[in-house]
């Protein structure tokens, strides 16, 4: 399987649409343990990305550059907590596919590992802190292990998504130790972390994308 620059752009547009659909849900989650804006923030960021995709990036063939600009655009549009986090993810991912227009599965795995680890570094968070890292870290670990075992990207990524989902769901029972919700202490228990949820959606959208692409191809 290979992912072209066009594919990257199509995937990012899927995210744009997905975020519009999940916007209210993400705000609702954030209202419970934060300031209620997570869906709005994601929407502002991805709308800005959308605008770039349709204009300057319309003819861009360099996948790394696309990912880099997506990260930067998102960051500039939103700031917030998730600006630096997701931006770092996409920018670190871009590094692993530097100057490439078409990306093969080895690089794709490297991309997603860099994405997840970049965010973890930026947020200085660990699994169990009730953040998006609870989604990203198990995802990355599973992807790395399973891909090493099978060399089958879609299979490995599917299992990684299952791990991501579990990680996201685990945040419900956690006490927050990072970000705005950390001030709630015990009272943060019982609510899903909004960032863990949006991270899951972003990762899962990629699986949807590659599966749809496979169906089309076959």
């Amino acid at each position: 399987m290979e992912i072209t620059a066009r594919d990257f752009k199509d995937y990012f547009i899927l995210i744009v649409n997905m975020i519009e659909e999940q916007k209210d849900y993400l705000c609702e989650l954030d209202r419970r343990i934060g300031d209620g804006d997570h869906g709005v923030t994601m929407s502002i960021g991805w709308q800005a990305v959308h605008e770039r995709l349709l204009n300057e990036l319309a003819e861009e063939e360099d996948s790394a550059k696309i990912s880099l600009i997506v990260g930067k655009t998102f960051l500039n549009a939103v700031g917030s907590s998730v600006g630096p986090l997701y931006a770092t993810g996409f920018m670190r991912g871009a590094k692993t596919i530097k100057n490439k227009s078409t990306v093969h599965t080895d690089d794709l795995v490297a991309y997603w590992l860099a994405f997840a680890r970049g965010i973890k570094e930026r947020g200085r968070s660990e699994v169990g802190d009730k953040t998006m890292v609870d989604t990203l870290e198990p995802f990355a670990k599973m992807l790395e292990t399973k891909y090493k075992e099978s060399n089958d990207f879609i299979a490995a990524y599917s299992e990684a998504i299952a791990a991501a989902k579990e990680g996201m769901e685990s945040t419900k029972d956690l006490v927050s130790r990072k970000g705005r919700s950390s001030r709630l202490g015990e009272r943060s228990v019982g609510a899903l972390d909004p960032g863990a949820t949006s991270a899951y959606f972003i990762l899962a959208t990629f699986l949807d994308f590659v599966e749809a692409k496979k169906v089309k191809a076959s």
Partner: protein, 334 residues
């Protein structure tokens, strides 16, 4: 909730536009980034630059405090969201006079990351020395043992005032940071919410309270507080806030403080003065002197109802900074 706006997605841009037009003698927008606003006034050569910023929706915080005696520039974020590094970096470049720039902001994950990234970029890419001081005044946001986790609320006003004066006095970067940090470590706040605000884009209340309830210790963005309880009298509320503050910081008989009773947005001045009345009584009972008082909307949360009380313990140096005149679009002190 009803808002007097046009398109919810443009509120920050349109507010800035109106603000620039109303106060062009005070402030200008950088061509490099429309979220970067800097003072339009002459400042002293070699002065350390004071950069403030954070999410929108806290007006007069933060753009209202750019001017003589306070900040030299502000980076403006979306509503309740940290600005991104780019506008921070542009302001940094514009206000640096060779003596470096001090970033003052509240201790929120988003601000820490964005201001942190900007500081790194200023250092690496622009060779500008950056110092930072974070506000952590909200006693309700973490126990005393984890002070460094606390968020900044209305106490930020005192930190701006202290650091802004220090920079005006000609202090170097290190000393401006020292004064800002001293102001922060001498400052405690705590708030109470009576009614929520709503983000223009969602229109949904930031929290739910019943008609007879209040929320003690809530954050400046509607983050849940430490407890919900029945709405109490102004005196009881003041008693509670002052008690928690004085339990957190040792202020001895005969010492002097600055007091800020800050409205969160929709609470009338009348009520703020009724709260102030009790705060003054309580401090007097403790033998604590009030050196200066501020009562009004200093750092708000859109149309949230409620108030916070901030107390800053003063030494001679901090007193001098509190006395220093200020001339900003939303705050003037002679």
């Amino acid at each position: 909730m009803k808002k007097l706006i046009n398109n919810p997605t443009n509120v920050v841009e349109e507010m800035i536009e109106g603000y620039m037009k109303a106060h062009s003698d005070y402030i200008r927008q950088l061509p490099e980034n429309n979220r970067s606003l800097v003072t339009a006034r002459q400042t002293r050569d070699n002065k350390v630059g004071i950069l403030i910023g954070g999410g929108s929706g806290h007006e007069p915080g933060f753009m209202g405090y750019v001017g003589d005696g306070m900040a030299d520039g502000v980076a403006v974020g979306n509503i309740f969201a940290s600005p991104s590094p780019d506008p921070i970096l542009e302001v940094t470049k514009a206000i640096d006079k060779g003596a470096g720039v001090v970033y003052l902001y509240g201790n929120y994950a988003g601000d820490v990351m964005n201001f942190g990234m900007a500081a790194e970029m200023a250092d690496l890419e622009e060779d500008i020395q950056v110092g930072s001081a974070l506000a952590t005044d909200d006693v309700a946001s973490a126990p005393k043992e984890e002070m460094e986790k606390r968020r900044g609320i209305a106490g930020e006003f005192f930190i701006y005032k202290a650091a802004g004066a220090a920079a005006d006095f000609g202090y170097n970067l290190e000393n401006v940071v020292r004064v800002a940090e001293k102001a922060n470590s001498n400052t405690r706040s705590m708030g109470v919410g009576l009614s929520p605000c709503s983000l223009p884009q969602t229109g949904k209340p930031s929290f739910e309270l019943r008609e007879n309830e209040m929320e003690v210790g809530l954050g400046h963005h509607g983050e849940p507080g430490i407890e919900k309880g029945p709405l109490e009298t102004a005196d009881h509320v003041a008693d509670r806030l002052v008690k928690d503050i004085l339990q957190d910081i040792q202020i001895n008989k005969g010492e002097q403080v600055a007091v800020l009773v800050n409205g969160l947005g929709s609470t009338p001045r009348m009520e703020l003065y009724i709260v102030y009345r009790r705060v003054e009584q309580l401090l007097k009972e403790q033998g604590i002197g009030i050196y200066r008082s501020y009562v009004g909307d200093y750092i708000t949360s859109l149309e949230m109802g409620g108030c916070s009380v901030t107390i800053m313990k003063l030494d001679a140096e901090l007193k001098k900074t509190m006395d220093h005149p200020v001339n900003c679009p939303m705050f003037v002190q002679k």
